[in-house]
Symmetry: C2
Subunit: 368 residues, 2 copies
């Protein structure tokens, strides 16, 4: 069994399904939105690779403009794939603590500008020891927890303490602060709400930055925000970078972000029509996702809804006669691509209904 | 970036994390339960490969006993991997309709005993045409919908019609009937409830079999049931095969099935302890799962619960002081492995706390 790889030029209708496609016009539109918005702003995008997992897509945003020239990764192995894929400026946003992984981070820092998120003494000391032994220099970015309730320091004083400690250690260089926000369930997503809430969270990160600078330590990176605040963050003085992820491929969970188009869709074929208003498609939750029970949407067919997502099939129901027959194809929009892209081996990149490229998802399995 | 592959003999404590491990003693226990229960029964296991995706694990059940010598797969590509991995009797449980895939199924039938689930005329005629042109012979198993509301015929007469049609076509041979049941949310899972409900669903499949036999068509396979009815099905005369999946690796969603042990677990390392009763681990929902919001469980640490699963991290909370420090490892039990195993590249097989084998998950990306 070799991985299915369609020929360039194959029309959509002839693709073997299920197939995850990326619409290049939509993707480039999304990248242009960022390029335009951030063109004259000191705030720049640092696109998150965690959901995209594919160097070429990240290069496309960097070439389109609006970025600071680098990206985020969530994992060490993801950072390795990205450096091997030609990215030169990487912020690893989760803490790394195992000595062998810290050595990998230090090794990477010899061939790219690597910054690691840190929030506690032990790993910081270990990183310093390993990095200096290897003659390396790893950037340290202090994570501040502003709403997620996961990693990140939770008090200004603790942040200042770690910044000072970093400043005194060999093999590491203090570079700045970062935070990520949580999109509280039920929060309003209109621009004003995002402005008020987003600003409040980001301000907590800026407060830590100010306290560190007051100690005479230079903070050259404030990396914060996400798709939810992409248009809010540039209006907050002091925000250098926005860690946007969802905007590039888009997902129905962020459908209020109407500046962006759906770039990633899943193509499926009807394999059964057991009732006159029911159709069963050949893709299930092993390949897609239903986070918290939110189902995918059928793209562009009025009156047809997703009734359920099973392990390997999807069930559609129409409000009248089902317009889809056995063998017909349809496109699905995912509620979330964060949990979906790494289930696939490749993006099939499509323009004007034909395959223009096939991009392997190189960091797909890179959980460690 | 090459995929991490631990050396044989590596102790659990030295594994790079996150790491999906399979405990060989538990796995073999689960296989022995089936071997013992089905030893003297005409009903045999046809283990489902859809969640396991790895030929060697399926071979282990066949060698342990209690099976009919073959397996199920959900997808064509999965069947290809399994035939290449030495399995010789395969029932593909989802309908296949695209001509290129039907040709792949027919090609496979020249090197293994392949049976395909069918529920409508169009694909059946197409399969017959393609298979006979190729000089192949594909087994046809009629799917009967008994509770899932997805593919499968929904009336006895329709089943009889398709069986007769199959009987008259070249390149295909009618082999039998199959069904799958749905475990209704909130249904009781004690043995008596499973017996009553399971029997009711399975009887619908047997009714179709009887009607087909009454037409003088031989039905040599009745393939039905699942883990939920593994101990019920052998008591129903006429059931030849049980399509069990979950029992092999187990998952907390099936914890009432106390005959089986948890064989698959995920090893994680604490990367942050931002509060005295909070620990953050290095695995998230990209590698694990939270179907319908059901979180993983921490294995064997009293008073420590999973608070949330994020994209790349997990947050644990203890009812007193957190017993885990930064750098400590812990094991997680998944609510469901159906949606989890195909996110990983390999099983790290462990016995007595040491790596005994590393098994690539060969059918991981085989969605088509």
């Amino acid at each position: 069994m070799s991985i299915y790889r369609p020929q360039i030029g194959t029309p959509l209708a002839e693709l073997d399904t299920p197939c995850m496609i990326v619409d290049l016009d939509a993707l480039e539109h999304n990248f242009d939105v960022i390029a335009d918005l951030y063109a004259d702003s000191p705030t720049k995008m640092r696109e998150h690779a965690k959901n995209i997992k594919t160097p070429i897509i990240l290069h496309k945003q960097i070439r389109a403009g609006g970025t600071m020239g680098g990206i985020c990764t969530a994992k060490t192995a993801e950072a390795e794939v990205m450096v091997e894929g030609g990215l030169t400026d990487i912020l690893i946003t989760s803490q790394v603590v195992a000595p062998d992984k810290l050595a990998r981070v230090a090794a990477l820092s010899k061939i790219a500008d690597i910054k690691l998120s840190v929030d506690s003494d032990g790993p910081l000391n270990e990183l310093s020891r390993i990095s200096s032994e290897m003659g390396a220099d790893v950037g340290v970015v202090l994570e501040v927890d502003t709403s997620m309730g996961r990693g990140g320091v939770r008090a200004i004083e603790r942040g200042v303490e770690l910044a000072k400690m970093t400043n005194d250690l060999p093999g590491v260089t203090f570079r700045g602060v970062m935070s990520h926000q949580s999109l509280a369930a039920g929060a309003d997503n209109d621009r004003e709400s995002r402005f008020i809430e987003g600003r409040r969270y980001i301000q907590m990160c800026l407060d830590v930055k100010d306290a560190i600078e007051a100690e005479g330590i230079s903070v050259d990176i404030v990396s914060t925000g996400e798709t939810w605040t992409y248009d809010v963050a540039p209006e907050i003085p002091g925000v250098d970078e926005v860690q946007g992820g969802t905007y590039a491929l888009m997902a129905t969970q962020a459908d209020y972000m109407d500046a962006f188009q759906y770039a990633v869709k899943v193509l499926s074929t009807v394999i059964s029509t057991p009732e006159s208003n029911v159709a069963v498609g050949d893709v299930g939750y092993r390949a897609m996702t239903s986070p918290g029970g939110v189902l995918p949407r059928v793209d562009g067919i009025v009156g047809v809804e997703v009734e359920s997502l099973e392990a390997d099939v999807i069930v559609l129901r129409s409000d009248g006669e089902m317009p889809l027959d056995v063998g017909d194809q349809f496109l699905l929009l995912s509620a979330q691509q964060d949990i979906m892209v790494n289930r696939w081996d490749q993006f099939v990149a499509v323009r004007n209904g034909k395959v223009e490229a096939v991009w392997p998802i190189l960091a797909r399995g890179c959980h460690h």
